[in-house]
Point group: C2
Chain length 409, copies 2
């Protein structure tokens, strides 16, 4: 008699995002002709860079001929692509061997499965608020106990509060934890860490033998040159950190699915010598993954080439300009906001102590703007909504003009 994985039964069904969908559906039914401004998006809507489009056409042409493709290729990704990734790191002074780079299908899969190489009793720490998948995948793996029905927080998980008083980036936990997920720049707060803040985490991890799982999926938006774009810019991070990245937003690769995971050979633990965690992840990938689409790998190598990087920077700059328009629009309406400088997300404070869900409804009803209520990302997200700069410029301009007209104090 087969049985089910009972850990799944511990998963909290966060009511909040289904309530968001329900309210959105009701509004759309009641206002069928209303043009909505989707500032709830988590994905880039810009076209692929022109040189990537050319690569895609050329690769397609080759795929119409016999014998050109067909091999699954290397489980870690093609060497030419890993070389292109290593070159980008080298430009920031970070040396990586090719076997430390694992090409993935766009970060989310690896963010979810990287925990599988660690022990089932390891204690996990996450930012609050944060992206739900860090916690959910660990709950499925048995690293959490019961949850609080109101906050959706789990016993057994360590939450690191992010709020105005710490500029939305946490201190390392006071208690001992084993696996620390950091999303930086953060989704949803848009906050990014200073060098000193990351140094604190690296010191903590190296002192206690913890591993940092660093989600750098929004690193391309870091435009302040004094801020790190990779955790490996911090001394000692190669001994304690795994970094996961993606081209989804920086190169508009959402529909191609490509990213990478760095598992340094210098990582070591009391029960794992240097190189062993790298070997475990290689073993996991070779059993459970066949590498991403070869055509996406050719496109990614183009996006990471010198010419491609110039084009990608203009995608990033366009998004950051959108974020600036959102910030200025909110400020001119007297609404307080954070983030949106080195990040596509503007963390917007609900006025007058309103809940994030009520502010969501007010933005929708009065300005036809769709946001994401911060409380859905954790208790410290209560009182905020996330506005995203991925919507197209014209829609963002109208959204801000609506907010100004209807909501300015």
């Amino acid at each position: 008699m087969a049985t089910i994985n009972l850990n799944f039964g511990r998963l909290c069904n966060c009511y909040l995002f289904s309530e968001v969908s329900r309210r959105l559906k009701v509004f759309t039914e009641q206002h069928p002709h209303c043009e909505l401004h989707r500032l709830d998006r988590s994905q880039n809507t810009q076209p692929l860079p022109p040189s990537v489009v050319r690569t895609l056409h050329e690769t397609t042409a080759r795929m119409s001929q016999a014998g050109c493709f067909g091999d699954y290729g290397h489980y870690q990704g093609e060497a030419f692509l890993r070389e292109a990734i290593a070159r980008c790191y080298r430009d920031r002074g970070i040396g990586l061997d090719l076997d430390e780079i694992f090409v993935n299908d766009g970060a989310k899969s690896d963010i979810g499965s990287i925990q599988s190489i660690f022990g089932p009793k390891d204690v996990v720490a996450v930012q609050d608020p944060t992206f739900a998948a860090y916690v959910d995948t660990n709950v499925m793996a048995g690293r959490a106990e019961s949850h609080n029905a109101v906050t959706c927080q789990y016993a057994g998980i360590s939450y690191m509060p992010c709020h105005e008083r710490n500029d939305f980036f946490p201190e390392p936990p006071r208690e001992k934890v084993d696996l620390i997920y950091l999303c930086c720049p953060n989704n949803p707060t848009g906050a990014t860490a200073t060098r000193e803040q990351l140094e604190q985490f690296v010191r903590y991890a190296n002192a206690l033998g913890a591993i940092i799982i660093y989600d750098a999926g929004y690193a391309a938006f870091v435009s302040d040159p004094s801020l790190p774009k990779s955790i490996y810019e911090i001394e000692g991070a190669e001994q304690c950190a795994i970094e996961i990245n993606s081209l989804s937003n920086s190169a508009a690769f959402t529909s191609l699915r490509l990213g990478w995971t760095i598992v340094p050979k210098a990582l070591s633990l009391e029960d794992a010598s240097a190189g062993q965690l790298n070997a475990l992840w290689h073993r996991r990938q070779s059993a459970m993954f066949n590498g991403p689409s070869i055509i996406a790998q050719y496109c990614a190598a183009q996006a990471l080439s010198p010419a491609g990087r110039v084009e990608c920077q203009s995608i990033v700059d366009n998004t950051l300009e959108n974020a600036r328009i959102i910030r200025e629009g909110l400020e001119s309406a007297g609404i307080l906001c954070y983030g949106g400088v080195n990040s596509p997300y503007v963390w917007t404070k609900a006025p007058d102590g309103m809940t994030s869900m009520n502010f969501f409804s007010k933005l929708l009803a009065e300005a036809n703007v769709v946001s994401l209520p911060g409380a859905g990302f954790g208790p410290n997200g209560e009182g905020y909504v996330r506005l995203s700069a991925f919507e197209c410029r014209e829609s963002i301009r109208i959204a801000m003009s609506n907010i100004h007209a209807k909501m300015a104090a």
Copy 2:
């Protein structure tokens, strides 16, 4: 202090395939000008179907425009593609709801992770010989104990022998097992199951509450109309079977990465009501997967359209014709072989009681043919090599002519 998943330490490092690589390397170094015939391939080398190439160009053109793509899309895959998949099943008399279909990135990922929705103590059964990933992924999840260093078989896993006496398709286990992996048509033996053989397994599973994980990745090669192409052609299978399929070989999609997993809502277990396993897999996918590349999904819908299916059939027919040439070549040299009729794999018996590794070396040295020694797939593979029909026609013809010239009795 983070720890490692100790289950990984139980994994057997099968010496055999590294010995194959070593011997191949030595041979190539000693004979640098020798043209090798790669009948060890597990992947299609034919070009994409012409209408899929057109779709790929058209989709690329759309991706160069703003606002066309950008959304991650549905975790289960786009509805238009799931409709195309459902239509293919409907043509074989199988009714599926769209929420029973989960689009994946080419079968291997789901073959590896489907076990994660089941209990950690569930007992796994696999064919012997078989594809290593079924066992390896369960070893990593803790469902096996120590292994035998010679056979690479694990205590705690139930092996179902496949040999000449049962036409290389096993009977259900005598003991009680919980999760049964069936690869059909089989890799490496090329054997496929009759309706009666599958009925036996479905009866076993429904009687004991076991779940069949049916890898139908080579189903497109089943050309005998009396043989099932899907386990759901067997009555009662929707209550006990999950089916995983891929376009890698049938549509030459190796470099695009696309397949699907069917988790019927009728599946139930003592501790899981109907629909619950489907919901668990949906929960797993939504936390750990973002769907495959959207462009691959458009291409897949084209490959599964009526026009696309005609083109795919010609890819399949071409591979089956290659298999026929291999079978006839071997037979004319007095070498016994199986499979290769409803399968791209020809299971070739080493003459004179030779080991599969020695026969591998003999084929390489005398006919310049690269094969895969059957012992690498399990003890019942000893004495056989797997020859694959995925190599190009010309190379296969030369391979057979070499075998005839050098090895005919």
